[in-house]
Symmetry: C2
Subunit: 325 residues, 2 copies
Amino acid sequence: MKTRSVLLVAFAFCVVHSVAAEPLASWNDGPAKQSIIEFVEAVTTEGSPDFVPVAERIATFDNDGCLWSEQPLYFQLIFAMDRVKELAPQHPEWNTTQPFQAVLEDDHEALAASGVEGVLTLVMASHAGLTTEEFDQVAREWLDTAKHPRFDRPYHELTFLPMVELLEYLRDNGFKTFIVSGGGIDFLRVFAEEAYGIPPEQVIGSSIKASFEMRDGVPVIVKQPEMNFIDDKEGKPVGIHQHIGRRPIAAFGNSDGDLQMLQWTTAGEGRRFGLLVRHTDAEREWAYDRDSHIGKLDKALDEAGKKGWTVVDMAEDWKTVYVPE
Amino acid sequence: MKTRSVLLVAFAFCVVHSVAAEPLASWNDGPAKQSIIEFVEAVTTEGSPDFVPVAERIATFDNDGCLWSEQPLYFQLIFAMDRVKELAPQHPEWNTTQPFQAVLEDDHEALAASGVEGVLTLVMASHAGLTTEEFDQVAREWLDTAKHPRFDRPYHELTFLPMVELLEYLRDNGFKTFIVSGGGIDFLRVFAEEAYGIPPEQVIGSSIKASFEMRDGVPVIVKQPEMNFIDDKEGKPVGIHQHIGRRPIAAFGNSDGDLQMLQWTTAGEGRRFGLLVRHTDAEREWAYDRDSHIGKLDKALDEAGKKGWTVVDMAEDWKTVYVPE
Ligand SMILES: [Ca+2]
Ligand SMILES: [Ca+2]
């Protein structure tokens, strides 16, 4: 007789798991930290009316201005600018075409105004034709060598320690953490695993199209000069649906680009959590909100008041801003 | 003094983990089963020259004809046909337009010939305008009630037990298992978690576009009558890149639609694994390959021989075909 039973025995084994002695250690005690802890305890306590099974504990995070800084320009825009300058000799037409002209003339205001689409246009033009592996290498080299003009540190070190702790705290409580960024998905994947502990398959972002080709009998994926998806504003809940297929129970952002993601997340049934990081700290980071070209926080701030979303006051709520050197 | 240490102590805790007494119990001993076990042992044994860290143990599976049957028609096509018949009174133009006419006249040959794009056209027409939650409910109801004409069982029970065991065996060995299907991503997600243990965020498939809208102040995502992505042939490695961002080390399919996924997977550095399920069992399932409209296996079969991919002979290699009732 053949047995068809798949699972016959169960046995226990142990894994060593490191846990923060004190979760959210870089957060000052206050309403923001308290709201986070209350939410996590409510959805993870068995028997609680707000209990959520592990498989449904999905949390989505914006990146620029939420997990790392975004001033004086989106970091990926600085990367694309450096790349455009490098390739400019082969593209004389860029001297008189926007947004390339602005890059070559270091006109930051024109660039900042070009927004997410400006970044993507530059990315498209400067990265199309590269295989995914070539792109990975170009981005890695830039991240390893380029330094932020104000802090003189590599860009990937300008991540927010309190937010990195928050990601860890959520994962320690059974959450799966995702990035949902207007930035380029392939660029984010180069550093997200090391900086945030978020693997490539949990990164959602804007993208250009790609195609599968054989080059000398070797299969490659090549980036194409055509927009695929803009993961910003209304695009964020759509990107979440396409990639995750499940509505998050918590969402974290910092600007009006995150409004729809927070609306979609917090409109679900059961207990939900929305949080906005407000840049209030000109001394340690930057202070900007309603009038900023980059990371404009206006409508979402009004809605946070109405919906009871947590608003982090960076100057008040964070003991430390950046991860230690 | 503030401490900036995030991780101060580590402690061990235990999880109970169930493991199959005998992995791949429904597989006969033979070269196919042996090749799977040899591969898994090589990439999971520390110190082995082929060792692969857990984070990189990505395995991708085609669905139709690989994880469940696909005869006499793709099951999702039968679902879309049932839906078209239901909606036909509101669409008199369908009586004279293909592929709708074929549906209403039960012309299976014309439908089979319409392939993945035919399915998607029907899906698009019959599901556009539904919110993602409405679609989910419609698909769930169909899966709960519709029965396969030959076996008189719900379609989601016609999954292959040996492949379900293979998914479990890989996961027990630290692999992350993904579906990469030409079928519709939202349809797959309705049953993949229960049938295969694969959560929605690990399902990749074809899709139509979606948009974020407010309906009476409630945010919804609405399916649109426009193709977004066809996850078949060259589309499979592209879909893998966009969703996972990491090249799999093992890929499993059954037709020429999987050729590029297997090429992309097995061309990576280090030890790789490719497998094709060959339908050789007319008695317990179906027998078809080079001349079939559905699941044509021709070029990929030739390439399997050259590349050393495993070819499963369903009649020889599987003790049991379907999961037990
Ligand atoms: Ca942002
Ligand atoms: Ca197939």
